[in-house]
Amino acid sequence: MFVYGTYRRISDPFCNNSLTNSLIRVIKHLDMHHNYILNRKSPSSSLPLLQWPYCLRRCSYCNFNKYISREDNDHIMTECIQRETETLLRLSQVSCITSVFFGGGTPSLAHPSTIAAVLQTVSRWARLSDKAEVTLEVNPTPVGKSKLEDYCRAGVNRFSIGVQSLQDEDLKILGRDHSSHQALQTVEEARRLCPGRVSVDVMFGRPKQSVESWENELSELLRVCDDHVSLYQLTLERGTRLFKQVLGGEVTVPAEDVTAEMYRCARRTLQQRGFLQYEVSNFARHKAASHHNTSYWKGRQYIGVGPGAHGRFVPLGEGGVHREARTQTLEPDVWIREVRQRGHGTRRRIQLGHLELLEEVLVMGLRMTDGINHEHWEMFSPHLGLREVFGTSREVQELLQSGQLILDDRGLRCSWDGLVLLDSMLPALLVELERQIGPSLQRDHHTDGSPH
């Protein structure tokens, strides 16, 4: 679950600077819009952060933190999620929430009253605007479909539907508990309830899939879907059933070159149909980009609530000035116990230094087709601009010359062709960033101690 909000006092990109400096910048940026997010995740996301940790069954490809619930403990979960939401909102001192995301597990297993209760808690501790984006991930089963209307009444105004595939046989191999027909019906119902605010998740690189069958499937999907599509390549995760099957030779997945071709085709097809790619795996038309997800890529702060959820925020409530990477306890039972004992289940807190923060801003920002603009970068790195950091590196120059990377008056971004190879470019950029920022940290430290 995620919440966007307006900041009260400190803007964290400047936490690393000396006190004098940061005070000035706080004033300068007070009017800027900063966002807070509460927990989120998507069904095929690969790290465990979730609101609702339970699933009815295990998908064969999923290594997510999820549990097959043995008993009905809805009311306990509800109570604990409310409690943790309250604790973390107070800790972050967020004032205004602009988006909330219910991810999973399978959050559509939760009772609509749970969603309503959590949203109530949020609005009790921060302002939850009418325009706030409230997304719920939905498994397109008949049960899920039947609850959509109630979710809307509870306050949900955007659905993200895990269609994954329109081939029933593939859904079986993937271990999904729905059919393609049910998926289409769910999408239809969701569109009726939240027109223009429905996203579908679809997966390529599946066992036995060919480029041709993928193109047909995508075309079929585009006929029925709404204005937002998330495209995921099936990744084999260690420890999953599918991983073992592929390792044992029972199942084969398409080769690297084939999945590259699938991705290329999909980008082209989506573009032709008016879907603009705004991130590596996200496409939207009619400006239906997910407000919530964009926040991650822009390096904004977010609060994660629920077992295994991740967050990034400055704990102002306890006097913190540095952003922290926070992880909640994984196992629901333990998490429940901790929340009951101390109000939250935060298991791990890691302070992000100046370099680490910039690294995240760089890595996440370049995933967007718009990349990182100069003003955005300056918020985090007031001393060293993008050109100063990357302009002199030989390797970056090569990337610019080959047209895979663009550094111009707008900022730094990948070209259409370069985006596909982002992960090959990032190590070089990170090496350069460390080389440039490493010494500048020392400088900052030095000014810190100088009397003026």
Partner: protein, 674 residues
Amino acid sequence: MSFSLATRWCDAPLMRRVLQFKGYRRKIQSCNNMTYTLFRHRWMKRLPVFSSGLKMASTQTDTIDLSKFPVDRIRNFCIIAHIDHGKSTLADRLLEMTGAIVKTQKNKQVLDKLQVERERGITVKAQTASLIYSHQGQQYLLNLIDTPGHVDFSYEVSRSISACQGVLLIVDANQGIQAQTVANFYLAFEAQLAIIPVINKIDLKNADPERVASQIEKVFDIPCNECIRISAKLGTNVEAVLQAVVDRIPPPVASIDDPFKALVFDSNFDHYRGVVANIAVFGGRVRKGDRIVSAYLGKSYEVNELGILRPDEHPTQKLFAGQVGYMVTGMKDVKEAQIGDTLYLKEQPVETLPGFKPAKAMVFAGMFPTDQSDYPGLRSAIERLTLNDSSVTVQRDSSMALGAGWRLGFLGLLHMEVFNQRLEQEYNASVIVTAPTVPYKAVLSSPRLIKEHGSKEITIVNPAQFPDRSVVSEYLEPMVLGTILSPDSYTGKIMSLCLNRRGIQKNMVYIDDKRVMMKYLFPLNEIVVDFYDLLKSLSSGYASFDYENAGYQAADLIKMNILLNGQPVEELITIVHRGRAYSAGKAMCERLQDSIPRQMFEIAVQASIGSKVIARETIKAYRKNVLAKCYGGDITRKMKLLKKQAEGKKKMRLIGNVEVPKDAFINVLKRKDK
């Protein structure tokens, strides 16, 4: 027969080998748990014998009066055999029967002290044991010098033999004569030692001592009736072996009336006492407290401790002519204890003994620490190991890919493997070993170069220094004469393997109605990597192989470059025979293709000779490399992965614009995993 044998030994071919060890790895005996920790205290390690080791031994000083053993009651002998034919087991029985060790079930290869020896069931380091044996009312001092069975260690063997007048040649009653039996026989035969053939393992179900005796007669020309048939395991007829040692082996020729003169035939390094030299006394006597001189250094030392080995150190007051024992003189540096050195009493200089020619390294391999920070540790480990094994040549080397390291020369492949294993086990060193190469030679034609090198013929150990064809009149490669013994049903397969390795058949005889002995002349380079493994597998393990040096022959050698996108990679330069260039080049390209990760552009991996490309593989460019999804929970993991890649990037070697990870070099350069 006398001690002057040492001279002859130097001329005997040292370079032979059998790689028989692989099939015979053994479970380590119980006391071996202690091997590692106790390594530096070798005298303490042997449990069944003098259980408290040296200290106890030193308190019971001189229970043996060595003066009771004049030269004619001394016999110096060694045991030679093909691997696993029972040499060490026979040694155990001889030790038990003469009371040197207590007879227990646990006596298994008492003389094999190193962990590597016990694991592989081979002897690497020669050990000495003095036995006291009563025969027909007389007490005899029998000095058993246990030798490494493997002819890679024939340097050790020849040193040991220099102190012997006779050998026990053990042959397995089931397996019969094997390649190494032949090699060992000739080693002893050429040294004109008395040879006593012993047919062992007659208790085995399939034992056929008659057949083996007739093989011995046919191959070695030793009459059938001279073979002693025993079971070392059960002790059957072992007494006859001891009798034969006394009856058939002549005593050493040495006089107690001559001035003291001793040969250093081995040395060990002890952390507390310094160098412990194994010596054979060729004349006169020496006592504790004497001042002796090393002929090699001209330096004098005081004899702090001396004694015999039974097989543990047993201190005595004196050593007499014809006897074999150890001596501690306060030498602190192993370089002082030159093997082959002559020792004499101060004030009584003698003519020095001929000594040993240094062993010639025939197999070279680069050795690099896995982590460069381990360099100093590895250096001292190598220094310490080479203290006890002077046959390893050490040269500093450095590679842009692998960092600073050494180029080590070994007598053979097994020698190299044993060295590595000892480094790992005894010094806990983790090393990258490159594929072995052999020393080539080039006959220079350019007067300028001849002047520069000081000779017409140069030896090339490092392929990067291979001189160009235009300044060379001829290249030479080392040759070996290989002996293969095998059941005749595998003859066809073996012959085609040999042919494939540029082998030339010299000889082929049936040693009985089923077994055939073949002699082939091979380029050493062709057998140095995987020949033995292939031979073993195509003969279901029945064929045995051994080789000896056969000088150099002219060969059509060429330098092969490996190119990445047209840029040569210095580390990968290889010298190959023209006829093998294509297959060698292709194999290297394939291994590189597998170990260089895809990059953003296509990479051509080529092997070339001069400007001509003879093999090519392509590493395709990445078409897509971006993680599908990345939201809140994925960020931490994603960042971790990218940071690791960024760190790895700093360690890449850049060839042109191609980033090559260290692992790729290791995969291409290291020996293949067996």
